[in-house]
């Protein structure tokens, strides 16, 4: 029995992978199958997990054992409120009263909008500001001066590269390209020395400057009501640089977890189904 189910699972898995070659009947079958299964699944699960215990039971079965929390104390008719709100969504099929359903939705959305505002202020504005300030003030700096130096090399190389490419020095021929690389390396090495001196002197770490400039630049990029020219434009460009480095880095960072998923499926095929590996 288990083998039959495993085989079904394996065949469905292969059907999905066949999509990588091209769209084909196997994929179409698997795709339509999973849509049907999940529709049936959610229909049943939503009923049993939400409607039955919170609306149907209290109203019709008066099973007061697992009463929902309530400020007013529990009354069976209170369970009718969400039930009625739910039913209101269906008024859209009757044009005369359709507006009622629309506003039921507005109430729902309004409630959640209110719910969302304050935590967002707390977690995404104040906490982020505080975390940034903490790192800058050197209270919490997980990486000591060591990374400073390594990062310095990269930053300086990138700066050198940007400077040279922007000014079009030697972008035309191979000799010029070699020159760019050499100059970047030299500037990078100079940066390495300077940073070693600075961090040895214990003044302020480069990483902190990076955090401030990065946040400042990124926020400036998101200025909508001012023209991005002059100093503002320069900062916004710095912001774009940080955004790009950030996107590249998190892209690279995610590869591992995606490969893990594939390893999981491949070992399902080779181990659980075919018993090819142990």
């Amino acid at each position: 029995m288990t083998f039959i189910w495993t085989t079904i699972g394996a065949l469905l898995t292969l059907s999905i992978y066949s999509f990588l070659y091209k769209d084909n009947p196997f994929y179409k079958f698997a795709e339509h199958l999973v849509v049907g299964v999940s529709a049936g699944y959610y229909l049943v699960i939503y009923y049993f997990n939400f409607i039955h215990p919170n609306v149907f039971s209290p109203v019709f079965l008066l099973r007061l054992g697992d009463e929902p929390i309530s400020f007013f104390g529990f009354h069976w008719w209170m369970a009718l409120i969400p039930g009625v709100l739910g039913i209101l969504l269906y008024t859209r099929f009757f044009p005369k009263v359709a507006w009622v359903g629309r506003y039921a939705l507005a109430v729902y959305v309004g409630g959640y909008a209110g719910l969302g505002i304050s935590p967002v202020m707390q977690a995404r504005v104040i906490e982020q500001l505080r975390a940034n300030a903490l790192s800058v003030a050197g209270v919490e700096d997980p990486f000591a001066t060591m990374t400073n130096v390594g990062l310095g090399v990269v930053i300086f190389a990138v700066v050198a590269y940007l400077l040279i490419v922007k000014r079009n020095l030697g972008a035309r021929n191979w000799l010029g390209k070699v020159a760019v690389i050499v100059v970047s390396a030299v500037v990078g090495y100079a940066g390495y020395l300077v940073l070693t001196l600075i961090s040895n002197a214990g003044v302020v770490s480069l990483t902190n400057i990076l955090l401030v400039v990065g946040l400042l630049g990124t926020l400036t990029y998101f200025f909508f009501s001012m023209k991005h020219t002059g100093a503002l434009g320069g900062l916004a460009r710095v912001g774009i640089v940080f955004l790009m480095v950030g996107f590249g880095a998190s892209f690279g960072y995610t590869v591992m977890s995606r490969i893990s998923l594939l390893i999981g499926r491949v070992s399902f095929l080779l181990h659980d189904w075919l018993h090819l590996i142990d």
């Binding site: 490969i259 594939l262 590996i277």
Partner: protein
């Protein structure tokens, strides 16, 4: 222009897909044992266990749940193997309810492989609620805190009072434990073990954590409060390498290394093609 020729710019995505699939499947079938550099925290852990005289008792704290198994299970397996290899006796104690059966899954086959006997060579004390309070209790008396064991499911040995288990006659408190390996996915876990047990009873504690959690514990390694740390699948693979039994973590890391390198090669290749085509276009214009 010359006749139509193979244009690498339009390389079929299917070639990339095939290579990726092969790069993942091949190391699983045939472990490649790519060079793995052992980082200092892992080496420290390995050395500490190697130095324990044979016959000593070590403790394995299993504090994880199924969702972190891919990362942590290889650590548990390798630690048990390492202990059995060196003739150490293992006591398992868990602060997370989901852990005992997971540890059991590693114990069963390894005990068979090494011919170890339940009750004399190893024991699974199972789960005890309470977190820090349980830890403090263990500091006073381990048998009082874990009055019964979890049993040994695979050998149909039921749970029984620790008084009836030979190995537990030798264990009263942390003076009898040579080393604690704490495999932890959160709280209560490594931090609590360090704060409540390491500081007070001066027992050596090594730890294995998820890759996400590891950075929080590196400071404890440098301060010497932790005797070694395995961080994520990578740490597990390094440990497997040292013990000499490449397992799931090594296979996984092989596949990861190859695919990551492959993607980088794709990117470089794509750029070479791009630069050549730029040059060619420029040539055509002139």
């Amino acid at each position: 222009m010359a006749k139509k020729r193979f244009d690498i710019r339009s390389v079929d995505r299917r070639i990339i897909f095939t290579l990726i699939f092969v790069a993942v499947a091949w190391p699983l079938i045939q472990p490649m044992r790519l060079p793995i550099d052992v980082s200092p925290p892992v080496q420290t852990l390995y050395d500490a266990i190697e130095e324990i005289p044979p016959g000593s008792i070590v403790m394995l704290g299993g504090d994880y749940s199924p969702d972190t198994m891919p990362e942590l299970q290889p650590m548990v397996e390798t630690f048990i193997r390492h202990a059995f290899e060196n003739d150490l006796r293992v006591v398992v104690a868990c602060l997370w309810p989901a852990s005992p059966p997971l540890v059991e899954r590693a114990l069963t086959p390894l005990a068979e492989e090494y011919g170890k006997e339940y009750g004399t060579d190893f024991v699974n004390l199972g789960y005890m609620a309470g977190g820090i309070v349980t830890l403090l209790g263990m500091g006073a008396s381990i048998p009082n805190t874990f009055p019964t064991d979890y049993g040994f499911g695979a050998a149909d040995i039921p749970s029984r009072p620790v008084g009836e288990i030979p190995l537990m006659q030798e264990v009263e408190n942390f003076d009898d434990i040579a080393f604690v390996m704490e495999v932890s996915a959160g709280t209560p876990g490594t931090r609590e073990w360090i704060q409540q047990i390491q500081g007070r009873y001066r027992v050596n504690i090594g730890s294995g954590t998820t890759a996400v959690g590891a950075p929080n514990f590196y400071p404890y390694v440098s301060s010497g409060q932790l005797t070694g740390l395995l961080g994520g699948l990578k740490g597990a693979a390094e440990y497997e390498t040292l013990v000499g039994f490449p397992g799931d973590a090594t296979k996984g890391m092989d596949a990861q290394s190859i695919v990551h390198a492959l993607v980088v090669v794709f990117i470089l290749l794509g750029n070479v093609v791009y630069l050549i085509s730029l040059r060619r276009n420029r040539g055509a214009e002139e």
